[in-house]
């Protein structure tokens, strides 16, 4: 009866932690919170007052626990983790949970893996390294990022390494440096145009792709700026290394070579670009703040990418971009839309807060975990997803700017779903880490659709559309999750609980972090009858229904 007991406790704790309307939940707010949290709260609350919005109440503990596991380590909590948190009576339990996920050795691997996955998708897209002739090694990228997040390397240090990396892309090869994978497929074609636009957009929030060919009417960046920035990448090549005796690319090596420039004078290596009217202009490496570096193309005199990395590390745009991206990750919307456009034409929703947090991350050495603490402990992250008449104007889905007065419902990413299914029901491939990682990647790949452009644009069909629904209805992952095999989740639920009711409770807590309603209990009973009293079959049906529900797939 152990589990029945704890389930009862869960209910009790839900009530004890019911949020008060003033927003100071009995279970949150502690005086020991970092000062940045109070600053975030003040700025967000000020806007609520300005717009006469009342925020949603705080989310209950179990919902919040599910939320923070998903966002910080990329999966939902298992039963034990959920119970442990809900039963904790201490006042600073939310801060303690964040601390545990960030610092406890038991979570180190999952934390690093989750953030590596998130960042690999940002840096090389979901399709990067998946094509046979790709110069990118997805394994190499992931390895670098896992190490980076495991060590909690300062964010600006990571950016510097990605921008300046030299060496081999593939783990196990001589001179391996996984950071090279960010640029490996972006420097060779079209004079490194893709390296230019990706680097400035991802790390500085400057959208320059349109200015490659012309001065854009809505964008302060001019064509000259684009090619000035581009000049930093012109010493760089990705060299193909072949599988010996074949024409198959094994990996690539990212190298810096002396650059003679287009006037063929390495001591003054300039480049040319064409205006729309055919006029030709010249460009040298000049950073966005007008800082120029030496014009020599000799790597021994000027290593252009190192100069760029150095300048980027000092740029306030880098600070703001870091804040904006992490904020969007946790709150569902950035301070700007899109997240990676900080240009002067695109005014943020909370400009002062963004500015302040940018300054603070710099003061705190671009410590990623510190920024995660500030955001996850801030008031907007505590709120429930309940959308009611008192906050209905705050609806970014209809084009309103986000006010963060309730938690915005959003679908899990395909990666979060996969990890959650694995956690919730042990639906996973057996075998080595490599084998499992390969299966995961194969599964993820089914949702990626490319747009056929040189910029590698892509979309995902894991967007709440029919292919996704079919996959969750009938796919292999679901079949594994609901399988009645020995040692599988359903059999474990059978073994760990005595009464049918407790078993159904177990399913709801594991999947949805709540107990079933009365109607849900009734339908479980009906299913049991329909299955001729075969309880395993009933649990399979119920578990299928749970993992297919909106409540399961949504981050809420």
């Amino acid at each position: 009866m152990r589990t029945f007991h704890t389930s009862t406790l869960l209910v009790g704790t839900f009530l004890a932690c019911a949020a008060t309307f003033a927003g100071k939940s009995a279970c949150a707010a502690e005086p020991t919170l970092p000062p940045q949290v109070a600053e975030i709260n003040a700025a967000i609350e000020q806007q609520w007052r300005d717009y006469e919005i009342k925020p949603a109440p705080d989310a209950d503990d179990a919902t919040w626990c599910r939320r923070v596991y998903l966002d910080v380590i990329g999966r939902i909590p298992n039963m034990k983790e959920l119970e442990q948190f809900v039963q904790d009576r201490s006042k600073d339990k939310r801060a303690k949970l964040v601390e545990m996920l960030l610092e406890d050795d038991r979570y180190a691997e999952e934390y690093a893996g989750h953030w590596a996955t998130v960042w690999a998708n940002i840096l090389i897209g979901r399709s990067g390294g998946q094509e046979r002739d790709s110069l990118t090694s997805r394994d190499g990228m992931m390895k670098y990022l896992r190490d980076t997040f495991a060590a909690n390397k300062p964010y600006n240090q990571m950016v510097y390494e990605l921008v300046t990396a030299e060496g081999s892309t593939k783990p196990g090869t001589e001179g391996f440096n996984g950071a090279t994978n960010f640029l490996a497929d972006k420097v060779n074609a079209e004079d490194a145009v893709l390296a230019t636009s990706s680097t400035s957009r991802i790390f500085l929030g400057l959208q320059v792709q349109c200015t490659q060919c012309h001065n854009h009417p809505f964008n302060q960046w001019k064509q000259q700026r684009f090619w000035d920035f581009n000049a930093f990448f012109r010493q760089t090549r990705a060299l193909r290394r072949f599988v010996s005796g074949t024409n198959d690319v094994d990996h690539a090596e990212l190298v810096n070579e002396d650059f003679a420039g287009q006037a063929n004078d390495p001591s003054d290596a300039l480049i040319f670009y064409e205006l729309r009217n055919g006029l030709v202009k010249s460009a040298y490496p000049v950073f966005i703040d007008d800082t120029a570096i030496g014009t020599s193309g000799y790597v021994s005199e000027v290593n252009r990418r190192q100069e760029l990395g150095r300048l980027m590390m000092e740029s306030p745009y880098l600070d703001k971009m870091m804040v904006n991206r992490f904020w969007a990750h946790f709150l569902g919307h950035a301070f700007t839309k899109p997240v990676d456009d900080l240009g002067p034409h695109n005014v943020p929703t909370h400009p002062d807060l963004l500015e302040y947090l940018g300054t603070e991350v710099r003061k705190n050495s671009h410590d990623v975990k510190e920024l995660i603490r500030w955001i996850t402990l801030s008031r907007p992250y505590q709120l429930s997803a309940r959308h009611t008449t008192i906050n209905e104007v705050d609806d970014p889905s209809v084009g309103e700017t986000p006010k963060f007065s309730h938690f915005y419902l959003r679908q899990m990413s395909a990666e979060q779903l996969y990890q959650s299914m694995v956690t919730a029901s042990g639906a996973t491939a057996a075998g080595s880490y490599e084998r499992q990682e390969q299966q995961r990647r194969q599964w993820l790949q089914q949702f990626v659709v490319a747009f056929g452009t040189d910029e590698g644009d892509e979309a995902t069909t894991f967007n709440g559309s029919i292919p996704q629904a079919l996959m969750l209805f009938n796919g292999e992952l679901t079949n594994q999750a609901i399988s009645d095999r020995d040692g599988g989740f359903i059999k474990r639920v059978m073994a760990e609980n005595k009464a049918p009711r407790d078993r159904v409770n177990h399913l709801f807590l594991a999947g949805l972090a709540r107990r079933p309603t009365r109607d849900e209990g009734t339908i479980a009973t009906k299913l049991l009858v329909a299955r001729g009293g075969n309880e395993v079959a009933m649990l399979q049906d119920m578990w299928w229904a749970i993992i297919n529900s909106n409540e399961f797939i949504m981050q809420h």
Binding site: R386, S397, G399, L409, F451, G452, D541, N550, E551
Partner: protein
């Protein structure tokens, strides 16, 4: 609460069962609508029903090398023009299309402003420039939404994107999102491998959880427009599709070998063939994607050796096949990409992005064929006749499909929005 799923007589077919559920409909907050009742006069409806096929050229095709050649001009490139069955000349690398041009017209005076892939893709698909505060519905979603009433018996998605992602439903909601399939029409995870009765019982349990969550997160408006509510709608469409024998339309491999060969055994060829099958089955909008037009380097070899032969075979087969089956008169075909390419040939022997003067091709569904509408300057850099926009093209296609241009949607934030962005008709194309 009535769990009708648990009291169905054994031996009922899945579809029959679905209807039965729709009848009792007590579980969900809104009724399930598995396969609507078939209208009395289905034949009459089938006769008048319109469809559209968009051939989407991802990357921005070089229309100056395909449809509006400038032989002899410094910008002209190396291709020569050839005569066609229409009143125009096109590229020598499109000989099979040349035979079909009597059915299709070229609009040579497209002039747009978006020369970035993402912005151009959005604009050409919606007739609106990107706006951070609103997501506009794409061509496919709009046309599917407007033409669905002509096919009450349709059980498969009304907007299918073949070999690409298509473009989104915007504020019309996920129920109008493109159903994205590969060009061989293979659909993953279609079969649940359990009996119908058990499936419906599972669905009953699922629907209970779904509805509870919608109420909990959005108590007021029964979840209208919320992510939780949209999820519920998509699940219903998914069930509809799983239980429909109309899905055989996707089995492109069942076509006779000579037809497959005529379309070409390329991805795009099979995609065009699939589009025809889907239109025959009653799908109102199909988009077929052919990428790889972003030819900044070495454009002429790429076009002559790879892109144009693939396009020529597939597109000409589609036009010819639809015409022979007397479907072309009710099916609009639109060929376009996000923009054209620079008349100037760059240092790498390629062409860059160019939106100021370029071409699209359209025909079918009452649009006149065999015409070249509008003209560009002798080097292709300027439009010298009335310029047309994405909105104008979309308005003209909608008119051909019998969709009223007065149709107005209300976006989620209450803004009224005219269909096709209030574009003006390209009169020359209309009979």
């Amino acid at each position: 609460m009535n769990y009708s799923a648990f009291s169905t007589p054994a031996g009922m077919s899945r579809r029959h069962f679905a209807k039965h559920m729709a009848g009792s409909a007590a579980i969900a907050s809104t009724a399930f609508t598995f396969g609507n009742a078939i209208a009395a006069n289905a034949d009459q409806l089938r006769k008048n029903r319109k469809s559209a096929i968009l051939l989407w050229m991802g990357g921005g095709p070089s229309t100056i090398d395909l449809w509006d050649l400038k032989p002899g001009a410094p910008t002209g490139g190396s291709f020569r023009p050839i005569s066609t069955t229409g009143d125009m000349q096109i590229s020598e690398h499109l000989p099979m299309m040349a035979q079909q041009m009597k059915h299709m017209s070229i609009v040579r005076s497209m002039s747009t402003r978006e020369a970035d892939h993402n912005r151009g893709r959005y604009y050409m698909h919606t007739g609106y420039v990107p706006n951070p505060n609103i997501e506009h519905p794409s061509y496919g979603s709009v046309i599917a939404h407007e033409l669905i009433s002509q096919r009450p018996d349709l059980q498969i998605p009304p907007f299918v994107a073949v070999g690409g992602a298509g473009a989104g439903p915007g504020f019309l909601g996920m129920a109008w999102a493109p159903f994205s399939v590969t060009s061989n029409g293979r659909i993953r995870n279609l079969d649940m491998k359990i009996d119908d009765k058990r499936l419906m019982q599972r669905v009953a349990a699922l629907d209970l959880i779904e509805s509870g969550f919608v109420k909990q997160t959005r108590p007021g408006a029964a979840g209208a427009g919320s992510p939780a509510g949209e999820h519920q709608k998509v699940l219903r469409k998914t069930l509809d599709l799983m239980t429909s024998d109309q899905m055989k339309a996707f089995k492109v491999e069942q076509e006779p070998e000579e037809i497959k060969q005529r379309y070409g055994t390329t991805g795009f060829g099979q995609g065009c063939l699939l589009a025809r099958r889907l239109v025959e089955a009653g799908v109102p909008f199909v988009e077929v994607d052919l990428g790889g037009w972003d030819n900044h380097d070495g454009i002429f070899a790429t076009l002559a050796d790879r892109k144009l032969p693939e396009l020529d075979k597939a597109m000409s087969a589609l036009v010819e096949d639809l015409a022979q089956r007397e479907l072309l008169q009710d099916t609009a075909i639109i060929w376009m990409g996000e923009f054209g390419r620079t008349p100037r040939i760059n240092q790498g022997g390629g062409r860059d992005h160019w939106a100021r003067s370029w071409s699209v091709v359209a025909g079918g569904a009452g649009l006149k064929g065999g015409l070249a509408v509008g003209q560009t300057s002798s080097d292709g850099t300027e439009v010298e006749s009335e310029p047309f926009s994405a909105e104008d093209l979309m308005a003209t296609v909608c008119k051909g499909l019998g969709i009223s241009l007065e149709t107005t949607y209300t976006s989620k934030n209450g803004r009224p929005m005219k269909i096709a962005g209030g574009g003006k008709l390209i009169q020359e194309l209309l009979a």
